[in-house]
Point group: C2
Chain length 476, copies 2
C-alpha cells in the first residue's frame, strides 16, 4: 500500500524530474577544471536544498577540498537495514564548443530527450533517485529502510576525497547495501544490473628536451624535438597488433571459463550493438573476441589527450622543447593498479630518447570490481527492475570504472546494486550528451520498488537465500 | 660630408631608437592569430606615422587582407638606383605566458638589452632601418639613393600577400637592390652578411576516426584512437637515425664541393657556438657533419605542434576521435617545395591506419635562396658593415627562411643585402626574446653607410666589378 502511494506520488510529479534535471545541467560542475570550482559548489548547494525539500532529516554539504560531498540521512528505523544511495553531480569537461549542437550547459528538451552535459552521466539518475526517495517520504510518509545519500562532486576525477574517507573511516558511511545508478542498460525496454567494473589508472607523461623552444629554421635538423619524442613514446605503448606493449601488462589478467564466456555472449551486447553505440568509428573487434569481451574482461590503454608545441591558430615555426600526453588504463581482475602503473612508468621512461627528460605522474587509480550475481541484494535489484521496467534485467559487465563502488566494496564490504538508467547512445563523456526521459521515469519507479523490496529483507540472518550482507562481495 | 651629418644625427637620436622599439613591442602584432588582427593594424598605423615623421614623401598603409603592408617612398633622384628596404612588424606567437619572465608585450630594459616579443625579430631592426633613413632625410637633408620601404605584417606566416603582389605585378615594387635586416650575426663585434636561406613549407595533418570522442571505459580496448594514430604518423616521419623517412625527400639535395664546405667551416659558427645559442638541449650533430652544415645545407622536417583529445587540466577519460599536428619543413637547393610537400602528403596518407581518415593541408611554402657572395651589392653591404661595426663581416648561410627574400630574388630579380642585427642568443621565436641595443645602434650606422656607398654605385653600367643589378642572382 505504501509502495503504491510512493508510485502514485512519483507519477504525479513527473514534470518535477525534468525541472530538476534542467536546473542541475545549468551548473557547469566540471570537476576536472579548477576554474569551475564555484560551479561545482553551487551545484552542491542546489542539491542539498533539493534533498531538504524531499524530506530528509539531516542534509549536509561537506566541503572536502572544494568539490563537496552532499550527504543526507533519514535513519529513523531501528532494526532495519541502511541503504547508501550514491550518485555524482560533477560532469566530464564538455570539450570544444564547436562539437556541440546545443550549448552543453543549457538544458534543451527535444522530444523524449533532454540534452546537456551530465544529463545522462549522472545528473539524470541523481534526480531520479531523489524523486524516488521523495516519493516515499512525501507520498508514503516514510522510507521503508534507513537511507544515507552520498552525492559526489568528483566522480569524474576518481572520487579522491570520498575514497580517502571510506578507506580511513569506513564507519562514517556505514550501510548494509548501496545502490548506484551510473551504469547503462541495453535499451529502454531492457533493464540491466551491472555486476562487474573495470578498474582505472590516470597517468600523465611529460617529455622535455632543453630549456626552451627553438627556432625551426635556425636549428631544424640539429635539435631534438620533444613532440616527436613523445609521439615515439606513445607509438611504443602498443604493438602492431594493437596489444599493449608494456612488459608484464597482461601478466595477471584472469582467464575465464567457457561457461562464463557463454553467459556473457547470451546476455551482453553484440558487436553490432556496440558499433551502433559508438557511432561507427573503426572498432577493433575480431572473430576470436567479441567487442563486449574486449571492453569488459580485457584491459586497455588509451592516450586520452596530447599537447605540445604551438597548438594555436596559424604556424609557430618552433622546435618544441616540451610535450605531454595523458593516459587512461582500464584494468580487469586480477590486475593490481599499483603494479600496472609502475610497469607503464618504467616502459615510458625507457622509451624516451637519450638526452631527453621524462616525468610520469599517476593522477588516480582504482581497482576492478566483481560482484556475485546471486547475492540477495542483487536479486532484489533484479526484482525491482522487473517491476519498474516491466521486464527482467540482464546482468552485465561494464568496461567503465566507478571508483567509489570499488571503495564501497573494498572498505565497507557491502553489496552494491548498480541499476542502470543510461542508454548506449546517450553520449556519456562525449559532445551532445542526452538522456531518455521515459527511461529516467522507469528508473524512479525501479528505485521505489528496490526500497520497498529491501525493506522486506532481513538485515541479520533470516532465510539463508535472502540474508545480507552476503559473503560473496569482493573487489578483485 | 652628408654621410657624416647622417651619422651625427643618428648618434644624437639614440634614445629615439629605444623609445620607438618600446612603442612597437607594445603592439601584440601576432600575424598567426586572427584574434590579434586589430593589434597588427594598430602597429601598421603607428609605423606609418613614424615614417611620415622621418621625412618620407609618400606613406601608405595597404590593407591587404587585414595584415597591412606599410609602404613609404622617397624617389626624387632621377638616374639614381632605387633601394627597397624590407622589414616586418609582425611577430611570432608568444607561447605560454608562464614561460616568460616579463610580459611578452611590455618592453623591459635590462642593461644593454630590451626584452619583449619581436624585440629582435624584427621590430628592433625595423626601427634601426627607420632611424638610419631619418638620419639621412633629417640630418643630411636627402637620401643618397631613391628608397622604397616595404614593411610587412605577415612575414611570420610566410608573407602571402606581398608574395602574391611580387608574383603578379613585380613592377609595383620595382627596385635595383634590396636591404633586409632579419638575420643574425655571430657576436656584437662580428657582423655578417647572409647569402643563403633555406626554404620552408608549413603543413597541417589531421587524423580523424569516427564521428565523436568515445568513453574510454565503455570502448577502451575496442576503438581506434586518433591521437595514437597521429603519433604513429609522426613517428613514421623520421627513421631511427633521425633522417626524414619520406621517400624522395633527399632526392634533389645538392652536394657541395669540398671548397664550399671548407669555406663554410672557416666562416660559420662552430658546434659549440650553436649549442650555446640553443641553450643546451640535445642537438644531433656528428663527426661527419657540423651543426652549421646540418642547419643550412641539409633539409629538415619538424613537428612544430600537436594537439588532440583532452588537453585541458585534469583527466578526460575519452578515446579521442581527432588529432592534428603541424609540420615545418626546411628546404635546401635544389629541392622544389611543391614536390616535397606532395611527397610528405603521400607518405602521411599512407601511414594513417586503415579505417581512419586524414587531411593534409599546405599552409605556405617558399623556396631556398642562394646569392652570389661576389655581387657588387653584397660587397657594398660588406663595406658598410666594416664601417658600421668596425670589423669585416662574415658571409653566412642561414637555416631560416625569409619568404619575401625569395620573392624579391625570383620575381624582381634583384640582389638582396641581408645585413644582420640579431644575436644568436636573442631568443627569436622563443620566450624571453630580447635585443642587444648597442648592436642595433651599429646596425643603424651600417645602414647609413650602405645607403652612402650604394649612392656611389652606377645603376646601369659603370666599371664592370661594381655594376648592378648583377647577373648572378638566383632563387634556387
Amino acid at each position: 500500500m505504501e509502495t503504491v502511494r510512493a508510485l502514485a506520488y512519483a507519477r504525479r510529479h513527473r514534470s518535477r524530474l525534468i525541472a530538476d534535471l534542467g536546473a542541475m545541467v545549468r551548473f557547469s560542475s566540471v570537476s576536472a577544471d579548477p576554474a569551475r570550482r564555484a560551479d561545482v559548489r553551487r551545484c552542491a548547494s542546489w542539491l542539498a536544498g533539493r534533498l531538504k525539500e524531499a524530506g530528509f532529516d539531516e542534509v549536509r554539504v561537506l566541503p572536502m577540498k572544494g568539490r563537496p560531498l552532499v550527504v543526507a540521512e533519514w535513519c529513523r528505523l531501528t532494526g532495519s537495514p541502511t541503504l547508501l544511495v550514491y550518485g555524482h553531480y560533477d560532469v566530464q569537461p564538455p570539450g570544444p564548443a564547436s562539437d556541440w549542437r546545443t550549448p552543453p550547459f543549457e538544458p534543451v528538451r527535444v522530444g523524449d530527450h533532454l540534452l546537456g552535459r551530465g544529463a545522462s552521466d549522472d545528473k539524470g539518475p541523481v534526480v531520479a533517485q531523489v524523486l524516488a526517495l521523495e516519493a516515499w517520504l512525501r507520498g508514503a510518509g516514510r522510507l521503508p529502510v534507513n537511507v544515507r545519500c552520498v552525492f559526489d562532486g568528483e566522480e569524474e576525477v576518481g572520487s579522491p576525497a570520498l575514497a580517502a574517507v571510506l578507506r580511513s573511516t569506513p564507519s562514517r558511511f556505514r550501510a548494509d547495501a548501496a545502490v548506484v545508478s551510473d551504469t547503462r542498460i541495453p535499451s529502454p525496454d531492457r533493464p540491466a544490473i551491472t555486476y562487474a567494473l573495470r578498474g582505472s589508472i590516470g597517468m600523465e607523461v611529460e617529455v622535455t628536451g632543453g630549456p626552451r623552444d627553438l627556432h625551426a629554421g635556425a636549428f631544424g635538423g640539429a635539435a631534438a624535438n620533444a613532440v616527436e619524442a613523445l609521439c615515439g613514446v606513445v607509438e611504443g605503448l602498443h604493438d602492431r597488433a594493437g596489444r599493449v606493449a608494456v612488459p608484464g601488462f597482461y601478466g595477471r589478467v584472469r582467464a575465464w571459463p567457457a561457461a562464463e564466456l557463454a553467459s556473457m555472449a547470451r546476455s551482453g551486447p553484440s558487436d553490432a550493438d556496440l558499433l551502433r553505440a559508438a557511432g561507427g568509428p573503426p572498432l577493433a573487434g575480431g572473430p576470436d573476441r567479441s567487442l563486449y569481451e574486449r571492453t569488459t574482461i580485457h584491459p586497455a590503454l588509451n592516450v586520452t589527450g596530447v599537447v605540445g608545441g604551438h597548438a594555436g591558430p596559424g604556424t609557430g615555426a618552433i622546435i618544441p622543447h616540451r610535450a605531454t600526453a595523458k593516459l587512461n588504463v582500464r584494468l580487469v581482475p586480477d590486475q593490481v593498479p599499483r603494479e600496472v602503473a609502475s610497469a607503464i612508468g618504467s616502459h615510458v621512461r625507457q622509451s624516451v630518447p637519450r638526452g631527453m627528460a621524462s616525468r610520469v605522474r599517476v593522477s588516480a587509480w582504482s581497482g576492478p570490481v566483481l560482484l556475485d550475481r546471486s547475492h540477495p541484494v542483487l536479486r532484489t535489484a533484479a526484482l525491482a527492475c522487473r517491476n519498474g521496467f516491466g521486464s527482467d534485467p540482464v546482468f552485465l559487465r561494464s568496461g567503465g570504472t566507478i571508483p567509489v563502488v570499488e571503495s564501497l566494496v573494498r572498505h565497507l564490504r557491502i553489496p552494491v546494486a548498480m541499476i542502470g538508467m543510461a542508454l548506449p547512445d546517450d553520449g556519456m563523456h562525449a559532445p551532445n550528451e542526452k538522456v531518455h526521459l521515459p527511461t529516467l521515469h522507469r528508473g524512479v519507479e525501479t528505485v521505489i520498488w528496490f526500497l520497498s523490496e529491501l525493506g522486506r529483507l532481513q538485515p541479520n540472518g533470516g532465510s539463508a537465500d535472502r540474508s545480507f550482507p552476503g559473503p560473496a562481495v569482493k573487489a578483485s
